[in-house]
C-alpha cells in the first residue's frame, strides 16, 4: 500500500517539503533554501512526474544513550559526506531527516515509524548496534524502503533473514575477524585463549577468529555485557598458559580490558589480538599508550591508501582533530554508495527494481578500497591486519601489517534465499 500512496501524494509532499524544512528546525537539515525552492518550482514540469525533484534521506543512529559514541562518530562521517556531496545526492537535491535510535531496539522501531510514516523518507541509512538491526529490518522491509546499514550486521540478517531491502555497507560481523586465525598461527601463537562479550556479535567474532587457527584453543570464554573488571579473567588467561589472546570488547569494556591488560604486565608477554572494535580512534584518547602494539583486524582504518580515503581523512582531521574511526569511514561510504546508485538511476529512485540493481552495482569509490555486494547484499571486501602504533607527536594510529583476506565474502550467503 505504501509506495502507491507515496507516488500519488509525492507532488503535494514535495511541495510541502520547503515549509516542513523551515518548521522542523533542529532535526531536519535543510541543506539549502535554494534547493528547496528549486524543488517547488521543479514540480511544474511534467518530466518530474517520475523522478522525485527532491529526495528525503532518513539517517538514524544512536545519538543518545550508552552507545552514542558510535552514533556520534557515524554522524561525523555522515556530515563530512554531506560536505563533499555539496547538497546533491546523485545529482538530485535532497534533505536529511535525522532520527535517534538510542541504542535501544524498541525505541528504534518507534523512531523508524516516525521517519517512515510521518516524515515519509525515501531512503534510510544508519543504525549503530546489531540488536537495533534485528528489530529494524522487518518494519523497513514492510515499508518497502531501501536501507543501507552503516555498522556490522549479525549472521541471521546475512543468512536466513536476509532482506532485499537491506544493504549492509559495512561488514558482516564474522567477516571483520575472518583471517585472524590464520594470521595468529603465522605469528607463532600455539595456545590461543578466545574471549568476548556475551552477546551475538561476541560469539560471531570469536567463532570467526577460531577459523584457520591451527594451534590449540585453550579456552573460549564469555563475560557479561556490563562487566568492566577483567582481573579475574586475566588471572585465568595467565594460568591457562596461553601465548596468544583474541579478545572482542567494543567501547567501555574494551578500554577497561586494554588498560588492565597493561597493568597486569602482560604487554609483550602474551600477544593480544582483536578486531578494530577493541582499539580504534574513538577509544585512543582513553586507552592512551596502553594500546600500543595491539594487533587488530579491520575492513577500514585511516591509513588505507587511496585517493578517496586520503581526501576523506585529511578533511576529517581538519574538522575533528583526529583520525576517523571505522564507524565514520563506513558511514561516509554508505552515503557515497547511495549517491552513486541515485546517479545511476538518474534520480528515479521510485523505480525500485532499477534502484535495487543500482545499489547492488555499488559503483562507487570506497574509502576502504575494493568493494562490491554479494548475492545477500553483504559486502565482498578486503580485511586487513593492523597494529596500534605511535606517531612522533605521540598520537596513536593504526598501521597496516598485512592484508588478511582479499575480496572475501561472508560465510552466510548460501543461507540467504536471494540469488
Amino acid at each position: 500500500m505504501h509506495p502507491m500512496v507515496r507516488t500519488s501524494v509525492s507532488a503535494a509532499r514535495a511541495a510541502m517539503s520547503a515549509a516542513a524544512c523551515a518548521a522542523r528546525s533542529s532535526k531536519v537539515v535543510a541543506l539549502s533554501a535554494t534547493f528547496a525552492v528549486g524543488t517547488v518550482l521543479g514540480l511544474a514540469g511534467p518530466a518530474q512526474a517520475q523522478a522525485p525533484a527532491s529526495i528525503r534521506l532518513g539517517f538514524i543512529a544512536a545519538m543518545s544513550g550508552p552507545l552514542s559514541v558510535v552514533g556520534a562518530e557515524q554522524k561525523r562521517g555522515f556530515d563530512l559526506a554531506l560536505d563533499h556531496l555539496g547538497g546533491k545526492l546523485g545529482g538530485v537535491p535532497f534533505e536529511v531527516v535525522q532520527g535517534d535510535s538510542k541504542a535501544n531496539p524498541t525505541a528504534t522501531v518507534q523512531e523508524l515509524s516516525r521517519l517512515i510514516d510521518k516524515d515519509r523518507v525515501d531512503i534510510l541509512t544508519g543504525l549503530s548496534t546489531s540488536n537495533e538491526l534485528v528489530a529494524a529490518i522487518k518494519p523497513i522491509s514492510d515499508a518497502k524502503l531501501f536501507f543501507v546499514g552503516m555498522n556490522g550486521g549479525p549472521a541471521v540478517l546475512a543468512g536466513e533473514q536476509c532482506s532485499p531491502w537491506y544493504f549492509n555497507a559495512s561488514f558482516q560481523n564474522g567477516q571483520l575477524t575472518a583471517g585472524m586465525g590464520a594470521y595468529m598461527s603465522k605469528a607463532g601463537v600455539k595456545k590461543l585463549y578466545l574471549m568476548g562479550m556475551d552477546y551475538e556479535a561476541g560469539h560471531e567474532h570469536t567463532e570467526a577468529a577460531k577459523k584457520g587457527f591451527t594451534g590449540e584453543v585453550v579456552a573460549h570464554a564469555f563475560t557479561p555485557i556490563p562487566q568492566v573488571d577483567f582481573a579475574a579473567d586475566i588471572a585465568r588467561i595467565r594460568a591457562s598458559g596461553a601465548d596468544g589472546v583474541f579478545a572482542f570488547y567494543p567501547g567501555a569494556p574494551g578500554i577497561a580490558f586494554v588498560r588492565q591488560w597493561n597493568q597486569a604486565g602482560l604487554n609483550g608477554k602474551i600477544a593480544l589480538f582483536s578486531n578494530i572494535a577493541l582499539s580504534e580512534p574513538t577509544v585512543f584518547q582513553a586507552q592512551g599508550k596502553t594500546a600500543l602494539g595491539i594487533v587488530v583486524s579491520a575492513n577500514y582504518f585511516a591509513a588505507i591508501d587511496n585517493p578517496r580515503n586520503r581526501r576523506f581523512v585529511q578533511d576529517f582531521r581538519a574538522k575533528f582533530g583526529r583520525d576517523p574511526a571505522s564507524y565514520a569511514g563506513l558511514a561516509y561510504d554508505s552515503m557515497m554508495l547511495i549517491d552513486a546508485a541515485v546517479r545511476e538511476v538518474k534520480g528515479n529512485i521510485r523505480d525500485q527494481a532499477a534502484f535495487r540493481a543500482a545499489l547492488r552495482h555499488a559503483n562507487f569509490e570506497s574509502v576502504r578500497g575494493p568493494f562490491r555486494f554479494n548475492t545477500n547484499q553483504q559486502p565482498i571486501q578486503n580485511t586487513y591486519v593492523t597494529q596500534v602504533d605511535q606517531r612522533p607527536d605521540g598520537s596513536l594510529w593504526l598501521r597496516q601489517v598485512s592484508v588478511s583476506a582479499e575480496n572475501a565474502p561472508d560465510e552466510f550467503a548460501a543461507k540467504c534465499s536471494m540469488k
Partner: protein, 299 residues
C-alpha cells in the same frame, strides 16, 4: 585450579568487594540516618572519576589531583543536598526513588554535555605502575593492591569516625533510630549534610581509584550502584558490619562463581547463573531473613 590462581582470584575478589563496600557504606549510611534511598549514588562515583580525569590535565602531581577531585565532589554533593535531597528526606520511598533516578540520568547526561561522549583518560600515578610478585610465577598489579589498601583505610577511618568521635556517635544514633538525633539537640541539618557528603566522598573515592582501571564514561557508576544496593539489602540496611560482610561475600562469589558455575553447569546455564548470582543470593537471603543478614529493623 592451582593454588596460585586461587590466591590471585582471592585478591581480585577482595578488591572488587572493597570497591562495592565503598559504595554500599554510603548507601546504607544515607538510608540509616536520613531514611534516603539514593539512586544517584552511582553518579557520585562517576563524578569522582571525571573530576580526577579533568584535574589530572591541569595538575601533574597525582596526590594534588586526587585531593582536588575529592574536593570538587564535596562541593557538588553539598549543592545536591541543599537543592534536591533535603526535601526528599521526609518523603516516601517512591518519591525518593524517582527524584534520585532523575538526578542520576541528568548528571549522567551533564558530563556528556561538558566532557563529550568519548571516554576520558586517567593514568595511574607512575609510582603505582608496576607489579609485585605474589608467588614465584604470579605477579599482581601494584595499583590493584593500592585500591584494596585505600578502600581498607577509608573503611578504617570511617570506623574510627563512627566509633571514636562525637559526630560518629550522632551518626550511629541516627542510623539506629532517626528520631533520637533531633531529641539529642543536635543540629540535624548540618549532620545530614555531613553524612551526605561523607557518603558521596566514599563513592567518589571509588571512582577516583577506578578511573585508571575502567572507562571513565557517562553512566559508569550505575552497574556498581545496582550491585551495591544488592549488597546493602543482603547485609541488612543500616548495618555497617552487614555492608562489609556482604560486599566481600559478593565480591568473592562473583569472582569465583564465574569460574565455577560454567564449569559445573555448562556454558549456557552456568553463564546465566554467574550473571544472576548476586540476585539469586539476595533472594535466598531475603527468603530466610526478610531484613538481611544483620538488619535489625524493618526498613
Amino acid at each position: 585450579m592451582t593454588g596460585g590462581l586461587v590466591l590471585e582470584q582471592a585478591f581480585n575478589g577482595l578488591q572488587f568487594g572493597m570497591i562495592l563496600f565503598l559504595m554500599a557504606v554510603g548507601v546504607t549510611l544515607a538510608f540509616g540516618v536520613m531514611n534516603l534511598i539514593n539512586l544517584a549514588h552511582g553518579s557520585m562515583l562517576m563524578l569522582g572519576a571525571y573530576f580526577i580525569a579533568a584535574a589530572a590535565t591541569k595538575i601533574t602531581a597525582y596526590p594534588l589531583a586526587f585531593v582536588a577531585a575529592l574536593m570538587l565532589t564535596a562541593v557538588a554533593s553539598v549543592l545536591l543536598e541543599v537543592l534536591v535531597m533535603r526535601p526528599l528526606y521526609r518523603m516516601g520511598h517512591l518519591d525518593q526513588v524517582l527524584a534520585t533516578f532523575g538526578v542520576s540520568i541528568a548528571v549522567n547526561e551533564a558530563v556528556i554535555m561538558i566532557w563529550g561522549r568519548e571516554a576520558m583518560f586517567v593514568a595511574p600515578p607512575e609510582w603505582l605502575d608496576g607489579t609485585v610478585a605474589l608467588t614465584d610465577t604470579i605477579s599482581y598489579p601494584l595499583y590493584r593492591l593500592a585500591i584494596t589498601g585505600v578502600a581498607a583505610l577509608a573503611g578504617l577511618a570511617l570506623w574510627l569516625l563512627l566509633a571514636r568521635t562525637r559526630l560518629g556517635m550522632r551518626i550511629r544514633a541516627g542510623a539506629e533510630n532517626g528520631d533520637i538525633v533531633g531529641a539529642l539537640g543536635v543540629n540535624v541539618r548540618l549532620l545530614f549534610i555531613g553524612v551526605f557528603v561523607i557518603s558521596s566522598l566514599l563513592a567518589a573515592l571509588g571512582g577516583v581509584m577506578l578511573g585508571p582501571l575502567i572507562a571513565v564514561q557517562s553512566g559508569m557508576g550505575d552497574p556498581l550502584l545496582i550491585l551495591a544496593l544488592a549488597v546493602v539489602v543482603i547485609g541488612g540496611v543500616g548495618s555497617l558490619k552487614g555492608a562489609l560482610v556482604a560486599s566481600l561475600a559478593v565480591g568473592l562469589l562473583d569472582t569465583f562463581g564465574r569460574m565455577i558455575w560454567p564449569h559445573l553447569m555448562g556454558n549456557i546455564i552456568g553463564n546465566i547463573v554467574a550473571n544472576a548470582s548476586v540476585y539469586i543470593l539476595m533472594a535466598l537471603v531475603i527468603a530466610v531473613r526478610p531484613s538481611g543478614l544483620f538488619g535489625n529493623h524493618a526498613a
